[in-house]
Structure formats: structure tokens, C-alpha cells
Symmetry: C2
Subunit: 345 residues, 2 copies
Amino acid sequence: MTVAKIALVPGDGIGAEVVAQGRKVLDAVLPGVEATEYDLGAARYHRTGEVLPESVLQEWTGYDAILLGAVGDPTVPPGVLERGLLLKLRFAFQQYVNLRPSRLWPGTAGPLGNVKPGEIDFVVVREGTEGLYAGAGGTMHTNTPAEVATEESLNTRHGVERVIRDAFSRAGKRERRKVTMVHKTNVLTHAGGLWARTFAEVAREFPDIETDYQHVDAAAMFMVTQPQRYDVIVTDNLFGDILTDIAAAVTGGIGLAASGCINPEREFPSMFEPVHGSAPDIAGQGVADPVATVLSVALLLDHLGHPEQARRVEQAVAAELSSRTPGQPLRTEEVGDRLAAHASN
Amino acid sequence: MTVAKIALVPGDGIGAEVVAQGRKVLDAVLPGVEATEYDLGAARYHRTGEVLPESVLQEWTGYDAILLGAVGDPTVPPGVLERGLLLKLRFAFQQYVNLRPSRLWPGTAGPLGNVKPGEIDFVVVREGTEGLYAGAGGTMHTNTPAEVATEESLNTRHGVERVIRDAFSRAGKRERRKVTMVHKTNVLTHAGGLWARTFAEVAREFPDIETDYQHVDAAAMFMVTQPQRYDVIVTDNLFGDILTDIAAAVTGGIGLAASGCINPEREFPSMFEPVHGSAPDIAGQGVADPVATVLSVALLLDHLGHPEQARRVEQAVAAELSSRTPGQPLRTEEVGDRLAAHASN
Ligand SMILES: CC(C)[C@H](C(=O)O)[C@@H](O)C(=O)O
Ligand SMILES: CC(C)[C@H](C(=O)O)[C@@H](O)C(=O)O
């Protein structure tokens, strides 16, 4: 029996190595997943010029989820794979919740001297379909001294409201029940006003959830000095991009950071991927850490309605990280085997 | 003899307390400064409704610099003092170099466990007159489910080129001679393209300066994991706003962070201010740390062509910070006295 139909996009560099472990763990905890591999990314682009054929996009509408390793390498011009593949999927599949959990796991040491494992545990709900990512803008008098370049941030009540509501409903399932909105309302008064008004209105539907607001510059600072204070953060697309990388930094680096580009209604497939890139410098050596991919599989399991399995995957990761000795080299395959074995018990 | 004409804006909260120390140190190292106080900020706004009278703006064109403490308090609606005072000055006086040095001073401990004093020493050259701070944008169908809100980032070759050139010339006076441009060229392809092309062209004029580029999300991460790598960073207005707060966080907090909004040509007065705010919670108690203001005075001295005096002020700060014992309460006045005494020797 097929319990879910999943597209696998190993992509470039270490992508294939880590996705293989993600799949191994997924199969171990949830038998019956039908997985189909797709060859996309920098390699495919160089070979055929194709980034995301329309036919693939069509096929994927029948899928439950996509698991992606990493796409890109330094030889592809900036924007080609980002706009043509990653952002295209977020927009086409209405993946308006870009979910990025941050935890300082037991056994890991982040860069912050005064923060202990277990003390950081928040999730960023980043808007995924609007703002400066809309691609609106252009240049005029290009390549002359009179050149003007614009980028437009587009924000709708529709888009802002749905992601804020999602953040509140996630907070309702957590222990601390707190949502912090991050924006820059003192400078971006137009978009900031829409965000602030919508946040206040949606908050009224959730009277038992605590609310807070911070400007993005202050939030970037507090994420370093007091990351313990956050529970759920909801923010705009670009602010979320920056804040989640700071969050990854304070919790031990992007090697451990998972993400999901989620369409909560499941009208379209959601995409799950590690935050790290294709890391061409270590590709093919079997030394990439698959933990970020495996944690992305946990997000996938949650999204598809298998929370018990998701928790088992997280427990396997916690056990794996607790048992590591700093500086000891790891083997991608062996980590995958250990995680699969632990999660299936 | 008057060596410089300076406007003092104590502002709100702790502003008056720290500006008094800044002035004390300034007078100690550079006799003959003519300083005039201006009453602006939240208190004035509440009393008279005025934010920055046109007459003040006119008067200031005859000044060399402005030293500001802090303006604002939670009762003023977001945007009023920011747009009406701070940003208005940056735009009206073409303060296109928003300069923010970051150092981990001897005797201070930042939050990063693995970074020692002396290892962080970079300066962010943030563009101050363009980008998303232009205020372009609006809302439509406001307060209805169909509401759309926009913010437009406006970037000109003129504006981008002058700030990049300033960053290169500052790098030329530093030991490591390296400029890192930070943007998000893979998503903001229009503005990012202008920045990248301009950076490449200006770099050709400075063949002995090393160059680097990072996306803003990566830079936000590296600022936490490897802040040692930076020398001069040049970036757009909003990215600079966020990055400099992370920089303040990793170097011990905004209590020590100085800034200058500079018009390098000195056609208009430049403004110098601590990065911290008015801190109403500790105002009037004489316990605010004046170091950020005094370091802003060092930037002011550099800008007005008194580098020797600026270095003496910095040495006084280094001595002060080295002699502090963590947790010991400080008295604003006493710190100011010690700094003035040390700097005047
Ligand atoms: C690759 C890029 C388009 C992307 C983004 O900016 O969203 C990445 O940084 C991320 O955070 O997923
Ligand atoms: C107060 C605000 C307008 C300002 C900014 O965003 O530039 C502040 O955050 C700063 O960094 O000087």
C-alpha cells in the first residue's frame, strides 16, 4: 500500500549523499512511501539548459511532498536555480509557510558561551510567497551613470494573514505558547502597518497565546544575546531568510538546520530540504552530515500526519548527536544507518 | 578660536546623560569647539508636536557636525521620529556613509565562547540614503481583505558607487585592506546586479585591495561563527541595519556601539550617535554607559580631520574597558571624567 508519493531531488554536490540517508530513515519509520527520483540542479542545467521543466511541475501536483538535497554550484549565474527552481516551487505550490525549527541539541555546542543545550528551542515561520521575493523590479538606464534599479516588496492581506494564523496555530501546540512578530514597522511603515494590523487582529482569535513584537535589527541582536526568549517567530520572507541563518549559527551551524516549504492545506506538495548547500568541497567523499536532511524528513512526517514517526526520528537524532565526540570524523552512510536503526525501534 | 561648530541633541531618556560625557571628552581633546544644544525628540514632540522644524535644518547647514544621544520613547507612534528626524537628516544632509565600527575591546567579553578580545575588528560601511529606506511605497484597499502594501527599494548608480568607493578608500587605510560586499544578488537580481557590477568596476580602481562577496544570510551567519574574517563590509541600507546589530551583539552589545552618519565631502554636517536607544528604564539614574557616545565622538574627530585626537579617545576607552570588573556598577559621570582625563594626556 502506498502511504505517500514523494519526489526525491538529490541535486548537486553532497545532495545525493544526504538524500539517500533521508530516504533510508523515512523508509525505516514509514513503510510504503513511493519515491521517485528527479534529476534537477546545476548538473542538469549545464547538461541540458533545463532548470524545472513544466512537465515536472505538472507531475508533482500529484505528489505529497518533495525531499531535496541541495542545488547549485558556483558556475551557475546567481538567480538561475534560485528563481527557476526553488522560488518557482514556493510560488507555484503556495508554500507560504517556510518553517525553520532551531534547537540547540543535547551533545552539541553552539558558539555562544553562555547557552546550554536544551535552552534554545524556537521555530521561525517565515512567509514564503511574498515580499521582496516576488521578483518585482527592474533597472533603467542600465550600465550608465544614470542607472536606477528597483526591487519591490509586495504584501497582501491574504498572504500576511494566512502565515500569521499558521504561526499562532503552531504556537498553540507548543509549551510556551508565544508568538513574536518581527518586522521593521518604524521604517517600512506601509508593509509594516499591514503586518502589524493583521497580527493584532489574528491575535484576538488566539487569546491564550502570548504576543510580542520586535524590529528585525533588534531581533537579529537578541538571537545572539538571548535566543532563549523565542518560541514561535513569524516574519516576512527576507527577514526570515536572514534570521534563520543567525538561528542556524547559534545552534551549531547549517549542518544541522532543517527546513520545510509548506502548503499547510496540502492542496499542493510541500518541499523539505536541509538549509545547507551543495558543499562541492566535500562532495563525493561520504563525509557530509545527513542530520539536517533527516530532520527535514521529520518535518515531512509531521506535515503528512505522522507525528509519532516524526518524534522517533527526532529522538534518533538526539541520540546520535549526544553520542558524538567533537572532532571525530563522521561517515554519511554510517550515520544514516544508525539513525534508521534507532528510529525504527 | 572656534575649531568646529557642533549641534548637540541630547534627546530623550539617557541621551542627555551620555551626550554630556561625549561633550566633556570632546572639549578635553579639542579645545575651541562651539556647541549649541537643541531640544528635539519624543519630549519635544509631545510638548509641541514638532519633530524637526525647518528652521533647525536650515541652521544646521552651517554646522560641522551633530552629536545625538538618543531619541524616542514607546509612546511615540512608530515612524514619526525615525522618518521625521533621523532619516530626514540622513537624506537632507546626504549622509550616505553610515559608518559602524565593530571591535571586541580588551577587557570585554562578548557572547562568543571562542573569540578573544582583539580578534574582532571590522567596520561596516552601510549605505545611508537609498534602498528600502527611501520611503517609496503605499497601501491600497487598506483595512480590507484585499489590502496590498508595497515597499520599494530604490538604488542608483550614483548612490551605490559613492558608498562603495568610500568603503574601498577606508579599506586602503587599514591593515588588512579587504572589502566584503554583502547583498542578496541571487534573489534581488535587479538591485543586486547594480551593486555587483558597480562593486566590480570600483574594485578595478583599487587593485591592491582584496575583495569578497557574501549573500546577506551567509554574512549574518558568519558574523556569529567567524567574525574575525571581516575587515570592511559595504552593504545596502537595510542589510546594514541588521548586520550592524549582529555586529554589536557579538562585540558585547549596543552599549558599546558607535555610529556616524557621514557626508564624506563635508558639504553638509554629519551626525554621530551611539547605536543604543533612549533606555527609559534606566534614565535619570546616572548609570548609563557613555562609552558608545564617546566612541562616536572619536568618529566625529576623525571626520573633522583630527585623527590624533580620535586615537587618544579610543585609547582612553580601551583603558577604561580593560580596568572594569564584570558586574561592577558604573556611574556615567565618573566614566566621563576618567575618559576625559585619560584622553587629554
Ligand atoms: C537559495 C535562496 C533562494 C534561499 C532563499 O533566499 O530563500 C535560501 O537562502 C534559503 O534560505 O532557502
Ligand atoms: C531608528 C531607525 C530608523 C534606525 C535605522 O533603521 O536605520 C536604527 O535602527 C539605526 O540603525 O540607526
